[in-house]
């Protein structure tokens, strides 16, 4: 760190203050990241390594990395006698080999991939729907004089204040009547209704920032209102729409309470599934860690991409910068 100050200001923190602040922040950041690093490390340990005392930290030095956790995540296995195993053809693939060493045979694929696919489909479906409806509504609220506008906007926000369990009771009954219980469509509609408040509030903020003069100019030139919306406003709002979409997607991806109460089989997403991954004799922590790692990676990537818009997203557009 060089001490040169080109534009000197009396309110610029001193070099020492900066250093102390930097050290404390780095310390906190390292502390806060440990659980995440531990998830990734556990996913490449063997079950005995994962529960050893003292903990094994550095791969190749303290423990030998293995893909066993990922194998256990993706497969179900059953225990067989050595005599029976001897009669089998040689193992095909790494996972089979690892299983054979423990007198196990791979029986079938686990449910992780279908659950993951459910998460993807439901997240994308509800995001697309919420952003589509939200963009229209946000434009309506931003540009037109709507009666009771503030009340409607507040009504849209207030739907977020309900505890999810409270919402789940009637939704459970309603979906049972409509046959939407444990279906992807039901979850998409539910997540859309939760996400739409975020989408409307965020997008209204983004559209408010686009000067009305652009559309008015286009309309003077003969565009209809809808044409002006499509060809002038939408391209201008593209960044905002993308940011909103990612926030909606993250919510749907992370959601647990509705998923655990309203889905149990066909439409179950990954969050309620990962905690119930069990191996022989209790939780199979490397497999849980492997499932968690794969589940978290997309969000980590999105967070890094979205860091400039994070503030706006988490405060429903109340704080802009």
């Amino acid at each position: 760190m060089s001490g040169q100050t080109t534009a000197y200001s009396i309110v610029e923190p001193t070099l020492r203050a900066k250093r102390v602040a930097g050290v404390i922040i780095v310390f906190y950041a390292v502390l806060t990241i440990i659980p995440l690093v531990w998830i990734a490390l556990t996913s490449i340990k063997s079950p005995p390594d994962s529960i050893s005392y003292p903990p094994k930290v550095i791969p190749f030095v303290h423990f030998e990395p293995t893909i066993e956790g990922y194998c256990n995540l993706f497969t179900t296995r059953s225990r067989q006698t050595p005599e029976y195993l001897a009669t089998l053809p040689p193992p095909a693939g790494r996972c089979e080999t690892i299983a054979r060493e423990k007198n196990l045979v791979v029986v079938s694929e686990s449910k992780y991939i279908p659950r993951f696919v459910n998460s993807v489909v439901i997240a994308f479906g509800s995001t697309a729907l919420a952003v589509f409806l939200g963009t229209l509504a946000a434009y309506g609220f931003s540009r037109f004089r709507v009666p009771l506008k503030d009340d409607l906007m507040f009504f849209i926000l207030s739907t977020r204040m309900m505890p999810p369990i409270a919402v789940a009771i009637p939704i459970f009954l309603m979906y049972r009547e409509l046959g939407l219980q444990d279906t992807r469509l039901g979850m998409i509609l539910l997540y859309t209704s939760v996400n739409i408040s975020l989408a409307v509030w965020l997008l209204k903020g983004f559209i408010d920032e686009i000067p009305r003069e652009y559309e008015e100019a286009a309309m003077i030139d003969g565009y209809t209102r809808i044409q002006a919306f499509r060809k002038v406003v939408l391209p201008q709002a593209a960044t905002g729409i993308a940011a909103t979409a990612i926030f909606c997607m993250i919510f749907a991806w992370n959601e647990y309470a509705f998923a655990v109460l309203l889905t149990s089989g066909d439409a179950q997403t990954a969050p309620p599934f990962i905690p119930i991954i069990i191996g022989e004799g209790g939780q199979d922590w490397p497999a849980v860690a492997a499932g968690t790692t794969l589940f978290l990676i997309p969000i980590v990537v999105f967070t890094v991409l979205m860091r400039k818009h994070l503030l706006r997203g988490i405060t429903f557009g109340a704080v802009r910068k």
Binding site: M1, I10, K18, A21, G22, I25, V26, T32, I33, I34, P35, L36, T42, I51, S52, Y53, P55, L136, A137, R145, I156, T159, R160, P163, I165, V167, I169, P170, L173, M174, L189, S193, I196, E209, I210, P211, A217, A218, D221, G222, Y223, R225, K231, V232, N254, Y256, V260, P271, I274, P275, V288, A289, T292, F295, R307, L310, L311, I314, T315, K321
Partner: protein, 319 residues
């Protein structure tokens, strides 16, 4: 958004439209478009939020049980509400919730503001480390919370090992999740680990919204740093801090996923927050009518508290 691109867009728009259209049909009226655009959202919310809410209110006056849909339905009037408001177990759950909300908000506000203030010292690499600190809050509380049960294992867990390493007490001598005294704090710790960055980010926006010239003026007037902090920094960042507290308060009042996975309300009922009680009544005991009444009480509580708080927030902002 840059002006040149927008101008180009307008030019493109101006060229692309046939002049014959101008002045003729304008398509739908603005009023029609406004309703066309807004009504799908309202209809969806009415169908999936308001209709169920009304249904919940209706159920709360009946003895309906979702696992016996064909049992005769009886109108019980306000019996459920009276029962809930006089039930010591419900009050215990509300107290656990209140303690949880207060503890997490206190920790996260103080720590979050402190971190934001440190980041605002603008040291090199602040941007990168801020992103690192922000990571936990974007992740699924359920999936990550579940992994904390592993970190909290008495003998093999990393958390116990690290505490033992620092303090010297044996790592198997305390159980974060199994101990009546420690388990509430285990949850507060995970919640704070996840959500302190949230408060930090909002506080950081507040600190950055304070213009430099105010500090320069204070510096010219020879106000001490300490005094500058109490008379400039804190009052000007207060609306932001209050906003963060509002969002955290509402979220933690609804808290379900992390508690459900970490302790499930236990040991005993020491960590049984309101949402857990509600889940037990509604989806384990299947007392649908009773739990509907509890759901309505919870909603009215959070809605009422939030409204009072927003009034206070606006008063602070208007100052």
């Amino acid at each position: 958004m840059t002006l040149p691109t927008s101008r180009r867009l307008i030019e493109k728009a101006a060229v692309a439209t046939p002049p014959a259209l101008s002045g003729r049909i304008r398509g739908l009226s603005d009023r029609a478009i406004a309703w066309l655009f807004i009504s799908p959202t309202i209809i969806l919310l009415l169908a999936i939020n308001i209709f169920p809410l009304i249904w919940t209110i209706w159920l709360s006056f009946t003895n309906y049980r979702a696992n016996r849909p064909n049992a005769p339905l009886r109108d019980v009037g306000l019996a459920h509400y009276i029962d809930i408001l006089t039930n010591p177990d419900i009050w215990a759950a509300m107290q656990v919730t209140a303690r949880f909300v207060i503890a997490t908000i206190a920790i996260q506000t103080v720590l979050g503001f402190l971190l934001a203030w440190l980041i605002d010292r603008k040291f090199r690499g602040a941007g990168f480390w801020t992103t690192v600190i922000l990571l936990p809050m974007m992740l699924s509380p359920a999936v990550v919370g579940n992994f904390w049960t592993f970190l909290y294992q008495p003998q093999i867990g990393l958390f116990n090992y690290m505490v033992a390493f620092v303090s010297g007490i044996p790592p198997s001598s305390f159980q974060m999740l199994g101990d009546v005294k420690l388990s509430p704090w285990a949850i507060v710790l995970v919640d704070s680990w996840m959500w302190t960055p949230y408060v930090m980010l909002i506080c950081l926006a507040g600190l950055r919204s304070i213009p430099d010239y105010i500090y320069e003026a204070a510096e010219v007037d020879r106000a001490s740093k300490w005094r500058q902090f109490w008379t400039i920094t804190l009052p000007m960042a207060l609306p932001f801090i209050m906003l963060a507290v509002l969002f955290r308060g509402i979220e933690n009042f609804k808290m379900f996923d992390m508690v459900n996975l970490l302790t499930g309300g236990g040991p005993g009922s020491t960590t049984e927050v309101a949402s857990i009680t509600l889940k037990r009544e509604a989806f384990e005991k299947w007392r649908t009518g009773y739990s509907s009444a509890f759901a309505i009480i919870l909603f009215v509580t959070v809605f009422g508290l939030a409204n009072i708080y927003v009034k206070a927030l606006n008063a602070v902002k208007a100052r």
